[in-house]
């Protein structure tokens, strides 16, 4: 469990750091201690102890001399080990020889410019090509509340690091749900912005059409701080959206098969939002059921293309499952890839239509709780479901269409494991979506085991 972890939000400690009551060095040392104490979770691939302590000392000097940069100044964050951090290998969670970037990815550089301290690189599903973070050369990532469970993926190490108090923010990537799935499984917050809103430069690609980079944190306000810094705008706090909001709940397809506690906690959220004066309408996203087939015919050939050279040279170094999926992509016909790209336009128009009828779509982020490590399938609603398909089901559409989507905690199930909600906004209106998410977060009473339900 997460006993003894410092799970405070960035917004709550930033004033203490600014006033000198709390030093960045203390924060970094506490995070390092936590990472070491909980090494069995395999959350980190590389811990940047020396550089983090050096950066913390520098932040202290700047802050004490009146050069406070932003609410992220002196705050320890982690970076998924798929993203370039200068001077540190990018392993992508693989035994394939790593990259050695000379420069930070732009999103990392911007976070550093805002004063954030990179404490280490987090473990992931190899090359971000999976949802369970157990196919990795650095040991299966384990859930902080139950080590027999997967935290989800592919940004599993980032979500674990946040849920267990090893850092205060993280940078993840999301090609089919890789930020939102582990956020939902671990009770944290994760944002997939609008497509192309944040640069993917310096990120090892998986699918050039579907890849997104985004922030992960313990609260919506912290996620917004990171997002704005990653965009290169001022890292200022947000205000929950005011007034009466209208939420659209897309019932067909998305609610076909859900774990009982996911359904129960979603109903609780509906009731809480209605009681707070907001409106909820049921709607349908036309042809949403086509999503898995469209997604598959885009992600497989694009991933296969991205890995063609490396796969040729280092096939044996890949995890068997990841290698097979990459090999499979080589068999997708060009004509079917073109069909999928055409259908992507159809789905994009359908989601555009749905989000224009409300302020945001509201649905669960993950149909199941954190699954057992290594499970190939799980029982959901009395049926056996393949693990990847059921974990991607509620998130992948919004990678296909590029709409911004955020996962936030919905509370915990009877098993003590978190469940997650998802809000989806209009393309290009990610800031508005975060304001709405902050308003929803206020209405959620998180149960025991959930770490991100409040705003403190």
């Amino acid at each position: 469990m997460t006993d003894g972890a410092d799970l405070r939000s960035i917004t709550s400690i930033a004033p203490l750091v600014r006033s000198g009551v709390l030093s960045p060095s203390t924060l970094v040392r506490e995070c390092l201690k936590r990472i070491e104490a909980r090494s069995s979770l395999n959350a980190f691939v590389t811990v940047m102890k020396d550089s983090a302590l050096h950066d913390a000392a520098q932040a202290e000097r700047e802050i004490s001399s009146g050069r406070y940069r932003s609410a992220l100044h002196g705050i320890p964050i982690s970076v998924k080990d798929l993203i370039a951090v200068a001077g540190t290998p990018t392993t992508s969670g693989s035994a394939v020889p790593p990259l050695h970037p000379a420069a930070d990815a732009p999103v990392v550089r911007r976070l550093r410019d805002a004063g954030a301290i990179v404490i280490g690189k987090t473990n992931l599903h190899e090359f971000a090509f999976g949802t369970t973070s157990d196919e990795t050369a650095f040991g299966a990532v384990r859930h902080p509340f139950d080590e027999t469970r997967s935290p989800g993926g592919s940004s599993g190490g980032s979500a674990v690091a946040l849920a267990d108090g090893m850092c205060f923010g993280s940078v993840g990537t999301d090609t089919g749900g890789s930020i939102r799935i582990p956020s939902a499984a671990c009770g944290t917050v994760g944002l997939k912005p609008t497509l192309s809103e944040l640069p993917c430069d310096g990120v090892v690609p998986l699918s050039t059409t579907l890849d997104h980079v985004g922030p992960m944190a313990r609260t919506v306000a912290d996620t917004a701080l990171l997002f704005r810094a990653m965009k290169g705008t001022a890292a200022q706090s947000i205000a929950p959206a005011g007034g009466r909001l209208v939420f659209g709940v897309p019932i067909p397809f998305f609610f076909d098969r859900l774990d009982g506690d996911v359904r129960r906690l979603f109903a609780n959220t509906r009731r809480a939002l209605t009681a707070a004066g907001h409106s909820i309408i049921d709607l349908s996203i036309e042809r949403a059921a086509w999503t898995p087939d469209v997604y598959l015919h885009i992600v497989l050939p694009e991933a296969s293309c991205c890995h063609a050279t490396t796969l040729d040279r280092h096939a044996a170094a890949y995890s068997p499952g990841v290698r097979l999926r990459l090999e499979m992509g080589g068999y997708v016909l060009a004509e079917d890839y073109v069909r999928a790209m055409r259908l992507r336009d159809v789905l994009t128009a359908a989601v555009d239509d749905a989000v224009q009828r409300c302020d945001a779509l509201l649905l669960p982020a993950l149909a199941i709780p954190a699954p057992p490590v290594g499970a190939a399938s799980v029982d959901v609603d009395g049926a056996r479901e393949p693990i990847r398909a059921i974990m991607l089901k509620l998130t992948q559409l919004f990678n296909v269409t590029g709409h911004p989507a955020v996962a936030l905690p919905a509370g915990s199930g009877h098993d003590g494991l978190p469940r997650g909600l998802q809000l989806v906004g209009q393309r290009g209106r990610t800031e508005r979506l975060l304001d709405i998410a902050a308003a929803v977060e206020l209405q959620i009473t998180a149960g025991p085991g959930s770490v991100g339900g409040g705003t403190g």
Partner: protein, 70 residues
């Protein structure tokens, strides 16, 4: 290319390359491709109907031939 012919060729190629574990994945992919093509055909038909409704001449394959002014 027809899906059955594609699947047979893909399975033979995977076999030749010693990737036996790929066989069930290729079966899954074939089912998904079938569904993708059905979805695509539906969209093409809807687009054709809309174009014909707007007075365009259908080429029968989802495309509309360019109009030539007399």
């Amino acid at each position: 290319m027809q899906i059955d012919a594609w699947l047979a060729a893909a399975r033979a190629d995977a076999e030749r390359r010693g990737l036996q574990d790929l066989q069930p994945l290729l079966e899954t992919l074939a089912r998904s491709t079938r569904a993708l093509r059905e979805a695509h055909d539906k969209i093409v038909k809807i687009a054709e109907i809309a174009r014909i409704g707007n007075g365009a001449e259908s080429a029968g394959d989802g495309t509309v031939p360019p109009r030539h002014e007399p």
